[in-house]
Symmetry: C2
């Protein structure tokens, strides 16, 4: 939708395993036509964008069999395994480059499409030693066309970074929601904006997040462990009734947040 | 500000320990005049609203020495101790009733005042056995005047509920921000909306939150423990690579969140 609005693509062919969803995308004007399968969707394509849950990306590229010369790009939230395996299923891996825009909401489906979603957001592009420079350039141009800021990053570093700034917050938001639900029915309807914001991403698609957590298991596990240490410190200060230590810790954290937002 | 906009109060006198802040409130038209101390602010008052960090409320009421017949109401985020102690410092505790609107942002100071803040939000009112019914009614009328929905609740139950839906999310947001900051400077500027939302309340006032955590220590500690169990379960599913169990858990939690929002 964003690429169309930017007038940088011609005919757009869509394919989704869920035929009804694909048809809705066509009705909404997001795609011009719906293909019967991945292979016919990619036939004669100049650009193939794979936007499916991370565990389905490699299979989708294999099924699509994109024609020679076609730029192949994915938008999955994890990168190292995907880049390695997509390169392995393509005859000419040099025309593939992994991608991941730091943009999205907890909503899914064609109705949630937003042509402004990528504006001013970072879009990671993860070339490997095999990727052709023109392919990297072409992918970056697509992101610029929709208003995003492309950033090149190594796929392994990308996954470590995402475990910290995205996958950990999701695991924490799910755990937090689960603990509050466990408190009991009294909480229903009696929440504030704090609850709404801290748990918003716990409404994300369970299959998408199951796959991200499992795909990036080791870096995520390391961040979960790191979180536990920081949580234990805050907890200890509260339980000890250490007013001075707690104020110092909360002030430090508030300042850190400002710094992280850049 | 909201009470003025609703035309239900006459002259508004403000007092703040920080004289410059009080003056800014006057310049912004939030109060008509600034008193030199709490006692002169409360002189001849018909309504006294105490909006200071929870650990300062009892002292503020004691200093104000509100005149006979004056409705005394606070808006602190914890209630059991405050209600008990304010009642103890007042000669006629029957005209005091505790309050807590479920509304607020991470911002502080008169510039952050928003006349629409309370619209459609729950405002807890926590009468005790001592409170006069007309006083409860008067406090509830004030909340209705600014668009809030007053709810009567026992002070101890209020504190348990807040430990679950508000204090736990704050402790988690602080811990999460701390863990991400600890990951390193690579994260600076590379966060998404998920980070921004889940950690927003970690930008809250450290003194206000130090006091809330300590004031409600036992219920907060119980919720921190509950959270740890749920976090451990999500972590175990990820680390075990249990795709089916993880999908089931994330789906259940997503549904619970919808239920809690009511």
């Amino acid at each position: 939708l964003a690429l169309r609005a930017a007038n940088v693509v011609g005919r757009v062919t869509g394919f989704d395993r869920d035929r009804a969803r694909a048809e809705r995308a066509r009705e909404l004007g997001i795609v011009d036509e719906v293909a019967a399968d991945a292979k016919s969707a990619a036939e004669n394509a100049e650009i193939l964008i794979v936007a499916v849950p991370v565990r389905a990306i490699v299979q989708a590229v294999a099924e699509a069999q994109p024609p020679a010369g076609c730029l192949v790009h994915d938008v999955g939230s994890t990168k190292a395994r995907i880049v390695r395996e997509v390169e392995a299923v393509l005859e000419d891996p040099c025309r593939f480059v992994g991608g991941h825009p730091l943009a999205g909401t907890e909503n899914t489906g064609p109705e949630s499409a937003d042509r402004h979603l990528f504006r001013d957001r970072v879009a990671f592009v993860t070339p490997s030693a095999k990727t052709r420079p023109e392919i990297v350039q072409a992918a970056e141009d697509l992101w610029r066309a929709v208003g995003a800021r492309p950033e090149r990053i190594d796929a392994v570093r990308h996954d470590d970074l995402m475990a910290a700034v995205s996958h950990l917050p999701h695991a924490v938001a799910y755990s937090l929601t689960s603990a509050i639900a466990d408190f009991g029915p009294e909480a229903v309807g009696l929440t504030s904006g704090g609850f709404r914001d801290t748990t918003r991403i716990a409404s994300s698609d369970p299959i998408m997040w199951r796959d991200i957590f499992l795909d990036n298991r080791a870096p995520v596990a390391a961040m979960l462990e790191r979180f536990e240490k920081h949580f234990a410190r805050v907890r200890a200060l509260i339980e000890a009734g250490d007013a001075q230590g707690l104020e110092r810790e909360l002030s430090r954290i508030r300042d850190e947040r400002r710094r992280i937002l850049g």
